[in-house]
């Protein structure tokens, strides 16, 4: 049997794993980025309590490896009577991770907006909320887009960590197939190709956006 025929045989099972991986990545991005936005605003808030809380959430999310958080959610929290299904625990851990990383990118984006924009808004008498949501945010988010796309790719690859708590995602599928007839080389190569098939085009799109952004800066 050649690699190609083997791959064709494995592919259906791999595809279901890939679907789960994509689902976890999508959830962690769709829920994580809005949370990241809230954190990025809280981190620069005047209120000390909200600033401290946000800072703690961001620093833990970025400082601790995602696997540690994943284990804490899955194996740690049941100690307090909070038990999650493995896929839920994986989503929650990765949401935290993506919120923490995306918040820093958004904060940098917001800070990169020219000070003159703030002055012009003040001089016009615009209320702070209008200045923030209509003037600063759209510009800050625009410059954050390439970074956020980068984090999205990382999140997708990070879903492979969910293998460690037996979520039936891409790595788990690959391992299951591999352990049947010990074709680890073929199957993990295929798994790698599956990740690359998503990540590489996504990276190209990111680069395209970066270039476009640089041109319209």
């Amino acid at each position: 049997m050649t690699w190609l025929t083997e791959w064709t045989a494995y592919l259906p099972q791999m595809m279901s794993g890939l679907g789960v991986s994509l689902l976890i990545a999508a959830v962690s991005i769709v829920a994580g980025y809005p949370l990241g936005l809230v954190l990025s605003v809280m981190v620069s808030a005047k209120n000390l309590a909200s600033r401290t809380l946000a800072l703690a959430v961001v620093e833990i999310g970025r400082g601790a490896p995602a696997l540690v958080i994943l284990y804490l959610f899955y194996y740690g929290l049941p100690k307090f009577g909070i038990a999650f299904e493995s896929i839920t625990a994986a989503c929650l851990a990765l949401i935290w991770n993506s919120a923490a990383y995306s918040s820093e990118i958004m904060r940098a984006g917001i800070q990169s907006v020219d000070r003159g924009q703030l002055e012009a808004s003040s001089a016009l008498g615009l209320a702070q909320r209008h200045t923030f949501w209509r003037v600063i945010m759209p510009q800050g988010m625009r410059s954050a887009i390439p970074g956020l796309m980068g984090v999205a790719i990382q999140m997708f690859q990070g879903t492979s960590l969910a293998y460690a708590i037996a979520v039936p995602e891409l790595m788990k599928s690959a391992y299951n197939i591999g352990s049947q007839d010990f074709n680890y080389l073929q199957i993990f190569t295929l798994a790698g190709l599956c990740y690359a098939a998503i990540s590489m085009p996504a990276t190209w799109i990111t680069v395209f956006f970066e270039k476009r952004m640089a041109r319209h800066a």
């Binding site: 003159g116 924009q117 002055e119 001089a123 016009l124 008498g125 615009l126 209008h130 209509r134 003037v135």
Partner: protein, 286 residues
């Protein structure tokens, strides 16, 4: 019932960029509606501003009559911009009193956000770097503040924006983003944006310094029209010709103080202060 007619006349600009002469008659009720703000002057008394140990403004006083143009000149670091920015409280002075558009601001007095917004919408400001909102079209740049600050509907705001774009000669740029406009065009849009809030006072902070000389002319032409219309204006500038031709009062600042003020022609031909002479020689003999 009052019946009061207000005539506004716009002279045609020399380069033909701007709208032809037209007249509008307005009743007092229309003026009260904010279509044309009442003329107000500015009184600044003993304004001082320090950043730590560094003094930027030292006891500076200036009275500006309604409907006059004041040109503020002087070497860099003299405190001209800071002084200008004190008028709409972009900078809060450490001491001194500001009376502008019916508001009195004193040190220690808390200005609430509502009053601050009201004051700022009666004082228009134009910046050296234009500061247009790059993610909005020219039209949106002008309409958006009207909707948020004055509560105009989108239709009202857009109609006013179009009127102003036409007045600054940029009707065809309405749907373009600032990035697609030249520096001079951007500055004219910025002037239209400030005018859209019907300010009674306009502040210009080196409006042509970021523009090449030819492009600067089209901005100066708009400002000349505004002055001819009777807008109260304070202009920080290095454009000596403009200061001489258009301003009613020339104010010379150096070393955190006003060192000389009066008739522009008189000061330029016969400055009383040695510091003024030195500065004028430097700019005029360039």
């Amino acid at each position: 019932m009052y019946h009061f007619t207000y005539h506004v006349t716009w002279p045609t600009s020399t380069d033909g960029l701007l709208v032809p002469t037209w007249k509008i008659a307005m009743t007092l009720s229309e003026i009260a509606d904010g279509k044309l703000a009442p003329r107000t002057g500015i009184k600044l008394d003993k304004i001082s501003k320090r950043y730590g140990d560094h003094t930027v403004l030292d006891d500076v006083s200036l009275h500006v009559e309604p409907g006059t143009v004041t040109a503020l000149i002087g070497p860099s670091g003299a405190g001209k911009s800071t002084f200008l920015r004190c008028i709409n409280l972009l900078e809060r002075p450490d001491s001194g009193t500001i009376q502008v558009a019916g508001h009195t601001i004193e040190p220690g007095k808390v200005v609430n956000n509502k009053d601050l917004a009201a004051l700022r919408s009666t004082v228009g400001m134009v910046f050296q770097s234009f500061n247009l909102f790059p993610h909005m079209s020219a039209m949106k740049n002008i309409s958006f503040p009207q909707q948020k600050v004055l509560g105009r509907t989108k239709e009202e705001a857009d109609a006013r924006s179009m009127e102003l774009l036409e007045r600054v000669g940029l009707k065809e740029k309405a749907n373009q983003h600032p990035g697609r406009c030249s520096g001079g065009q951007q500055q004219r849009i910025a002037i239209a944006r400030a005018l859209a809030l019907d300010p009674s006072i306009m502040l210009f902070d080196e409006p042509t310094s970021a523009l090449d000389p030819e492009v600067g002319l089209e901005v100066l032409a708009v400002m000349r029209e505004l002055a001819a219309d009777g807008m109260t204006m304070i202009v920080v500038t290095h454009e000596m010709q403009f200061a001489r031709d258009v301003s009613d009062t020339l104010v010379v600042m150096a070393d955190c103080k006003i060192i000389e003020q009066g008739d522009p022609g008189a000061i330029m031909s016969d400055p009383q202060e040695a510091r003024t002479r030195r500065f004028l020689r430097a700019v005029l003999e360039r």
